[in-house]
């Protein structure tokens, strides 16, 4: 079963839920797809075993063949290849690797080369095997790194995926293919607003989901009213407690210091098994 943990709003506790659940359930694979700011390993403290570069493919122009006709520039929707008088420039960070310029080039002057954008990092701790993607600083496209992380999914395993915040392409790329998505929110106007957008996306792409309310007791009751009205399962509430915040700040998953939570996360996982796509 593949369970992703997402939120819409940042900083609601996705990573905390993902890591605590992974440690409580055990024998799982944890994938951190928040390639822009991967944090799950800071809570899991894995022993790292391997690191690989992630590349995208970008056009390589053979200047002996290219006659700067400009067909590639005309074709490219992303302004990633540009003919200026007698010269041709490639902007690797704008390229979406669609492959169109190579197809369109009348002189077959374009082939492909690798362009490094980030890394894949492998490790393990306490029955949890982690893979996290890390986008290189200054590189704009997280999606290819997310795709590379998701390629590591072990078939048949229980997989927990920590998603990036937001509701646009990195989020969609992360959660697509999941059997279930946990949306972690906080009971505040910001939390609710972004939860609603995330719900809309999940309904559009047809992934079953439920809500975990973190910092329960802060803010107001409107998240509960919304979930009630929309018949959305509230799977777990994590109270607004200073101790939990302090443990998180130190990089300690609170379940390891507050053992009563281990069972709660196991129950959460069992509930999800029932609700998930069969």
């Amino acid at each position: 079963m593949i369970v992703s943990v997402a939120s819409g709003k940042g900083g609601t506790g996705k990573t905390s839920v993902a890591v605590n659940m992974a440690l409580s359930v055990g024998n799982v694979q944890l994938l951190d797809c928040d390639a822009e700011e991967p944090n799950a390993y800071l809570l899991l403290h894995p022993e790292m075993t391997k690191k690989e570069a992630v590349y995208t493919l970008i056009p390589k122009v053979d200047r002996n063949l290219c006659n700067t006709c400009g067909e590639c520039t005309k074709f490219c929707q992303f302004n990633a290849i540009f003919v200026a008088s007698e010269n041709i420039l490639v902007f690797p960070d704008l390229c979406s690797s669609c492959g169109g310029c190579a197809i369109i080039c009348p002189r077959k002057a374009i082939t492909w080369e690798k362009h490094r954008i980030g890394t894949l990092n492998f490790g393990a701790n306490d029955g949890v095997a982690i893979v996290y993607g890390e986008l290189d600083v200054s590189k704009p496209l997280a999606v290819p790194v997310i795709k590379a992380v998701k390629k590591q999914i072990k078939e048949g395993a229980n997989v927990i995926i920590d998603s990036p915040p937001g509701t646009s392409c990195p989020f969609v790329e992360t959660v697509s293919g999941s059997d279930f998505c946990i949306l972690v929110t906080e009971p505040t106007p910001f939390g609710l607003h972004d939860l609603k957008i995330a719900v809309e996306v999940l309904r559009k792409i047809n992934i079953p989901f439920g809500v975990v309310v973190n910092r329960a007791g802060m803010g107001d009751k409107k998240v509960y009213e919304y979930c009630g009205k929309e018949s959305i399962h509230i799977l777990l509430e994590i109270p607004y407690e200073r101790r939990i915040a302090e443990l998180y700040s130190k990089g300690i998953p609170f379940g390891s210091e507050m053992p009563e939570w281990v069972e709660k996360f196991q129950v959460l996982f069992s509930k999800i098994k029932v609700l998930a796509k069969k």
Partner: protein, 291 residues
């Protein structure tokens, strides 16, 4: 005209709450929400929309069934897996690159502009606001951020505003890069947690890469004072000014629930005083936008 971007790396550190305070304190600034897929600033500033523009971020492949000869070349050549086995186009996966259009021998595929969201120009109690909302699950947030910033710039010039204050999104990827490009300064809001520190370091590296003056604010510093000391030392070693050290206060959430900024809700509180002092430092650096 000067531009200040508030960002964080890690989400939920308080970017939006602080940006909204700056908008209130600045009086003569245009405020911009560059978090276009989960925007929250409007819930504190209550903008009244004056103008809505449709955002055409990319194109979408549309297949004409009557012309299609079912050869499957479009599916074979699509690098985004956007064409299903029954040759239906998956609108979410389609990047609008046009490869299918080029390889189709029957001329059955056209590229049409797609609406992926809306950009708004609005008025608030404190001045003009430029913001947007990407349609749920759409891509191209970086492009939308760029057009929201373009709108803000035009507004600021027209209205004679000397400052643009920009609320960024979490992360360091394309929408964030679009939020900081050309800014005169950036304020990174962090929190004294292991993740906060890690993400701060990456955000500062990004600002350094793009050569943008960086300032730091430590929010909820008293949640872990030893981590706060670590951040202070790190900033000192890297010659980055820490302009604000804000205590934790439940009043910030109470203000949010009431739809207000903390400087309006509780102007005499420790949090408000620290934000005002931070604002004074930032506006002094920018030489603009002060009351």
């Amino acid at each position: 005209m000067k531009q200040l971007t508030v960002l964080s790396g890690k989400g939920g550190t308080g970017k939006t709450s602080i940006t909204a305070c700056f908008a209130v304190l600045a009086k003569n600034a245009v405020v911009v929400d560059c978090d276009v897929d989960a925007p929250d600033l409007h819930m504190l500033l209550h903008p009244e929309v004056i103008k809505t523009q449709k955002f055409m971020g990319s194109k979408l492949a549309v297949l004409d069934k009557a012309k299609c000869i079912k050869c499957g070349l479009c599916r074979e050549n699509c690098n985004f897996g956007a064409i299903a086995i029954d040759l239906k186009v998956d609108a979410i996966a389609c990047e609008g690159c046009g490869v299918c259009n080029v390889v189709c021998p029957a001329g059955a595929i056209t590229l049409v502009p797609r609406v992926s969201g809306n950009a708004f120009i609005s008025k608030t109690k404190y001045g003009f606001m430029s913001h947007a909302l990407l349609d749920p699950g759409e891509s191209n947030s970086g492009k939308l951020v760029t057009s929201v910033r373009q709108n803000a710039k035009i507004l600021a010039e027209k209205q004679n505003c000397d400052l643009v204050i920009i609320d960024g999104s979490p992360g360091i990827g394309c929408p964030v890069i679009a939020s900081i490009t050309g800014a005169d300064a950036a304020l990174v809001v962090t929190e004294p947690t292991m993740s906060g520190i890690h993400d701060l370091e990456r955000a500062l590296k990004l600002l350094d890469h793009f050569n943008i003056a960086a300032f730091v604010c430590i929010n909820m510093y008293d949640v872990n004072t030893s981590n706060t000391t670590k951040i202070l030392n790190f900033c000192k070693d890297n010659r980055v000014d820490v302009v604000g050290i804000i205590p934790f206060s439940p009043e910030v959430t109470q203000a949010m629930v009431k739809g207000k900024t903390i400087v309006e809700y509780s102007p005499k509180s420790g949090v408000s005083e620290e934000i005002m002092s931070m604002w004074n430092k930032m506006s002094q650096f920018l030489g603009a936008g002060n009351q």
